[in-house]
Amino acid sequence: MVNYSELDDTAQDLLREIGNIGTGNAVTALSSMVGHSFNVELPQVRIINYREAPELLGGAETFQTGILLEIGGELSGMFMFLLNEEFSKVMLDALLGPGDWDPVNMDEMCRSVICEVGNIVCCSYVNALARLMGIKIEVSVPDICSDMVGALLSVPMIHFANLSDELMLIENRFFTDKTAFTGHVLFLPEMESLEKMFSLLGI
């Protein structure tokens, strides 16, 4: 069995690099989607215990929107993109026009817009992974839920509780002229996929 925390520095650097490339792709895609550019800090890539995740995301009861994608094919696992109210508002303003958006009670239109944003962001990371490793990865239809972040995380947590207690968290801080906001990407590969990733990468 492979655990994230057993990885040496080289392997962790490689994961960080996948995170960096994915963030780069995601920012480019988001910028062209909303029609103006974002600045982004160097992403923080961390390997954490799932119990720590809610705290790092602002506390278990913090309201966030999560977009969940399953990956299959040569690698299987889950990607989850989490965005806070501020981020959701910026996206809704940019894509549906300025308005008094309420991320807590989104209608079908808003949900599908945010879901698509999440889809694009997650797929940017999937592409980075696939390209770096020269493999094919399939992606499921994205699924969206807005609620307490702890409750959102219970879904991947339950799935992986059997196997491992760790997950990879990529934190991105975005800036526009007016605001700063944060988005998080969680990557949870199945255990055998993690092993495969490292053998493909020659670790």
């Binding site: 799932y50 119990r51 809610p54 506390g59 278990a60 009861e61 309201f63 999560g66 969940l68 399953e70 990956i71 299959g72 299987s76 807590v104 009670n105 399939e138 499921s140 239809v141 699924d143 969206i144 839920c145 807005s146 609620d147 307490m148 972040v149 702890g150 409750a151 959102l152 995380l153 219970s154 879904v155 947590m157 339950i158 799935h159 509780a161 059997n162 196997l163």
Partner: protein, 175 residues
């Protein structure tokens, strides 16, 4: 009294029950667990001696899991461990009543690559397992707030046996 000191909190502050944890308090103590999604929070109460216990489980049955180290992770072993913890503090299983919350279906997930385990149903399967285990222990469920598509924070009072549920869309609901 002395042998169960590590379970007891006399403080008025709420005792936090983390993920896959079980805790016991005496009146006037209060237990809280944050953001239950598909997990289930089981609250047991013995009114005669005002002992309250809460466990936050993730999965239905221990036997199906690969990593079995923590009994409080599972409905079956978690509830049994909690009952024992409470009995060590003077409670009696025959007097206990249960209130349960959680077991939501957070994501729709219609399209999945793995046919085997249907994640979307895990909340429901957790609730079913909890009901089954409580039935076997003959502990009646006197209130529940399960299923649906929302996260819940729950608090349970050892003084009154009242369960309070909070979500992001509605405020406190008392059970």
């Amino acid at each position: 009294m002395k042998k169960c000191f590590h379970f007891l909190v006399y403080d008025m502050d709420k005792t936090v029950v983390g993920i896959a944890e079980g805790k016991v308090v005496r009146s006037p103590g209060e237990l809280i667990t944050y953001a239950l999604g598909s997990c289930v929070g089981i609250c047991l109460y013995d009114r005669t001696c005002s002992v309250a216990g809460m466990v936050h489980i993730l999965l239905p049955y221990k036997k199906t899991a690969v990593n079995q180290s923590n009994p409080y992770k599972f409905a079956d072993t978690g509830i049994i461990a909690l009952v024992k913890d409470m009995e060590r503090c003077g409670a009696n299983v025959r007097r206990m009543t249960a209130k349960i919350a959680g077991g939501a279906k957070m994501f729709e997930r219609s399209d999945t690559f793995k046919g085997e385990v249907d994640e979307t149903q895990i909340g429901q399967r957790n609730v079913e397992a909890v009901r089954e285990v409580l039935r076997e222990l003959r502990i009646p469920i006197i209130a529940d707030d399960t299923g649906d598509r929302l996260g819940r924070t729950i608090t349970f009072s050892a003084e009154t046996g009242q369960l309070t549920v909070k979500t992001v869309r509605w405020e406190w609901k008392k059970l």
